[in-house]
């Protein structure tokens, strides 16, 4: 897949750093400000998509990237399920229990297990959207051409 012109590449280079920063901010501050795992993950995926579109790359490492994203996706989901099940192992027999200390409300480290969920849900959403986009791009390159 061939990339775009030099101008687009330079602009993307400058912007994608900001996009990732903003996405990570939205994910980590999910429990304080509006946003959260879903919105932040989608923004991070948008950043990656921008890079892939601007720079383009050969089908081979696109496919390698796709396997990586689908593996990160499964790992993130496994961690979420383990987090949910951790309540069972801590002897509370409760599924999806918020067992970490809450801390006081306005702070960054405050809402017990929720920020951790946010981070892994963000990872999972970003990896899923990226897998879908890569699936389409690989199909366009390989099968349609």
């Amino acid at each position: 897949m061939n990339g775009m012109t030099q101008i687009v590449k330079k602009v993307t280079q400058l912007m994608s750093g900001l996009i990732f920063m903003y996405g990570l901010y939205i994910i980590t501050h999910g429990h304080l400000t509006p946003g959260g795992g879903f919105a932040g993950g989608a923004i991070v995926a948008g950043g990656f998509i921008l890079l892939i579109l601007a720079y383009g790359s050969k089908v081979l490492n696109l496919r390698k990237e796709e396997t990586q994203t689908s593996i990160t996706e499964s790992v993130a989901l496994l961690v979420i399920v383990m987090l949910a099940l951790a309540g069972l192992f801590l002897g509370t027999y409760v599924f999806f229990n918020n067992y970490l200390p809450q801390g006081e409300i306005g702070q960054l480290i405050s809402a017990g297990v929720i920020p951790i969920y946010n981070i892994f849900i963000g990872m999972e959403v970003a990896a899923a959207l990226l897998t879908i986009f890569l699936g389409l791009v690989i199909y366009k390159e390989e099968v349609a051409s």
Binding site: T33, P34, F38, G106, V125, I132, Y139
Partner: protein, 112 residues
């Protein structure tokens, strides 16, 4: 009340689009319009006149918050809508590759 009726009209416009359009992409567009009207309907149910956005701030005395539950439902439904649209588009491309057209009248090899 007119807001809810117009939201239902948007739902019917989407349903009209899905049932009558012959182009696969138009059907997917009609589909996402139906989804948007469902999200809007759910979000409107939870709205409370001059309520606040459900973000806690310290300096409120006894704040009236908008209902957070429909918002959580809509957030889940938006991602479900994204998942269904992605699946529909994947199949639409493959059908275009095999049948050569997006026109649903030509895409009916199944008979009986």
């Amino acid at each position: 009340m007119t807001v809810y009726v117009m939201c239902f009209i948007l739902f019917l416009v989407g349903l009209y689009g899905v049932l009558t359009r012959r182009n696969l992409i138009k059907i997917v567009i009609g589909f996402s319009i139906m989804e948007f009207s469902c999200f809007l309907f759910l979000a409107m149910i939870g709205y409370i006149e001059n309520g606040l956005a459900p973000i806690l701030k310290e300096e409120m005395e006894n704040p009236v918050y908008v209902d957070p539950l429909p918002q959580a439902m809509v957030l889940t439904a938006i991602v479900i809508g994204l998942a269904t649209t992605a699946m529909l588009l994947a199949i639409a491309i493959r059908i275009y590759k095999k049948y050569g057209t997006f026109d649903i009248r030509k895409v009916n090899e199944l008979k009986g």
